[in-house]
């Protein structure tokens, strides 16, 4: 997700410091960003001049503290709390008092991440959606410690990037991941009860105007990925029944039937 966010940042006129743990990763990220920008121009979605500037707007580094020179830091590291806390602690110690520190976490507590920063009021969540250069939504998450100013800055930044920000409290799943849970969970329950089969449920849900049915969706994002999100939210809400995952999904993961990426999930995907 980091490269997508970096791409959006560059395309909206910013200079970007791109950090990862290894040179190979940052190089690869830059290549894919440039390729993606080119595609955007080809499809007429991106202005050619903007693209030229953007492609050269990157500085690559494997030294984390180099990022402290930025006005805004957007962190998109793996979803591990300790890792993110370390990053924010290190960066906030080096950064200026005015640096906005944003985390792209989708499932962790922004409050917990902010608590490790020297100035927690400078930390907010900025949750982008995949792929970041297409999806307009950014959930701006207000941690318990976030200052009003930090929140406003994040909202404005999202707008400047051409995104539509929504403002939410730091709660499990924020808005989108939480409210979407029944889409898949109810479908699994109906399947489990024998109410209808996979194709029928998908067809019925699509008839309501949804682009794809719940099982098609799970196969697309990864049955395991979807299960991980459901399990995380279930736990974060202290096992509230509403978010109860389903054993069918767990069995699918155990069997390695993860969807498109393994050639088979609820549907089969021939090569």
């Amino acid at each position: 997700m980091g490269s997508g966010i970096a791409q959006v940042s560059a395309l909206s006129g910013n200079d970007v410091i791109l950090y990862d743990v290894e040179d190979a990763f940052t190089q690869k990220a830059l290549e894919s960003i440039r390729a993606s920008i080119d595609k955007g121009v080809e499809r007429g979605k991106t202005d050619a001049e903007v693209a030229v500037r953007a492609k050269d707007a990157f500085t690559l580094t494997t030294t984390l503290t180099d990022c402290a020179a930025a006005d805004v830091v957007i962190e998109a590291a793996p979803e591990k709390l300790e890792l993110k806390r370390e990053i924010f602690e290190t960066l906030s110690n080096e950064a200026s008092d005015d640096t906005l520190l944003a985390t792209n976490t989708s499932s962790l507590s922004v409050t917990a991440i902010a608590a490790s920063a020297k100035r927690p009021e400078m930390v907010v969540g900025m949750h982008f959606f995949n792929p970041a250069f297409i999806m307009k939504l950014v959930e701006v998450v207000r941690a318990m410690q976030s200052s009003e100013e930090s929140v406003e800055r994040a909202v404005q930044l999202a707008r400047d990037m051409g995104k539509t920000p929504v403002l939410c409290k730091d709660t499990p799943g924020f808005i989108s991941n939480r409210v979407a849970r029944p889409f898949v969970l109810e479908a699994l329950r109906l399947l489990g009860e024998g109410a209808a089969d996979v194709e029928t449920i998908d067809k019925l849900i699509r008839s309501l105007g949804f682009r794809m049915g719940p099982f098609e969706l799970m196969d697309l994002v990864g049955v395991d990925v979807n299960f991980a999100v459901s399990s995380s939210i279930f736990e974060a809400f202290f096992y509230d029944d509403k978010y109860r995952p389903h054993y069918i999904q767990k069995r699918m993961v155990e069997a390695g039937l993860l969807g498109r990426k393994t050639g088979r999930g609820f549907y089969e995907y021939g090569e």
Binding site: I175, L185, A196, K203, S207
Partner: protein, 264 residues
């Protein structure tokens, strides 16, 4: 065929049109509350010669529906909608058992019946006692309207209403918990998850009383706390904020619907 159509949903006008266009004779009784004697006579006459009765209401004890059950000839199918309780439950209670449960068939749709993708789909379900004969007549009827039928198992809300109302319940929960504003919750689902509509605005369109009735039905029958309707949804309905038809739901609307047909 001669069809007698009863109910109290905004889905009925579209259904009436579909039935008429298909060449059937339809008598419509969408009266909400009690019927006066003149209407009862009209209904009795229509039911006595009907080939089929269809109902769509999400409340119990609708006078027209109960009356039809008594006056419709016993060999004619009665197609009802298990939106708020399963078909088997309905045929067990409500006095249906005196009306021959084997002739009762379930159907489900949400307004608009015609899908955005084109051909409308109707869910059809059998209760534990539904006869094959009645089921077959019902399927033929829906198909005669140019609708596709999909068989699903009996249960409150069938498939679509159950999934959709569960989603709406969660949106209400996020609102009530102060996670975000109603506008932002709706924007997030459309822009982040590509939902066709924001869930709160959609609930306002369906009618918050319908959404609550579906959830109450599932919760009541399953006893599973997962389906507990959110208190905010209940309060909105008690306060008469039923959505678009009453001028106010989670959002406010300029035009008021006809009070006599408030609710989905």
């Amino acid at each position: 065929m001669k069809i007698i159509l009863t109910g109290n949903s905004k889905l009925l006008p579209e259904l009436t049109e579909l039935v008429t266009q298909a060449g059937h004779d339809v008598s419509l009784f969408s009266d909400f509350h009690y019927l006066d004697k003149h209407r009862y006579d009209e209904l009795d006459q229509a039911a006595a010669v009907a080939d089929l009765a269809v109902d769509y209401s999400h409340m119990r004890h609708i006078p027209a529906m109960e009356r039809v059950m008594v006056t419709l000839p016993i060999d004619k199918p009665y197609i009802v909608s298990p939106m708020v309780s399963s078909l088997t439950f309905m045929t067990h209670t409500e006095g249906y058992h005196v009306g021959h449960p084997e002739r009762v068939v379930g159907w489900g749709a949400l307004p608009p019946i015609a899908s955005p993708e084109g051909k409308g789909i109707v869910e059809v379900a059998r209760g534990l006692q539904t006869s094959d004969a009645a089921f077959d007549v019902a399927v033929e009827f829906w198909q005669s309207l140019g609708l596709e039928t999909v068989e699903v198992a009996d249960g409150p809300g069938l498939v679509r209403a159950r999934v959709l109302c569960s989603l709406m319940n969660e949106a209400v929960s996020a609102l009530a918990d102060g996670v975000a504003s109603a506008d932002d919750i709706d924007a997030a689902m459309q822009l982040g998850n590509n939902y066709p509509q924001g869930l709160l605005a959609w609930a306002d369109e369906l009618g918050l009383d319908l959404v609550l009735a579906v959830l109450d039905g599932i919760h009541g029958e399953t006893g599973d706390p997962k389906y507990r309707p959110h208190p905010l949804l209940k309060r909105k309905v008690w306060a008469g904020h039923l959505g678009k038809s009453s001028g106010r739901g989670f959002f406010e609307y300029e035009t008021w619907g006809d009070p006599a047909s408030s609710g989905a």
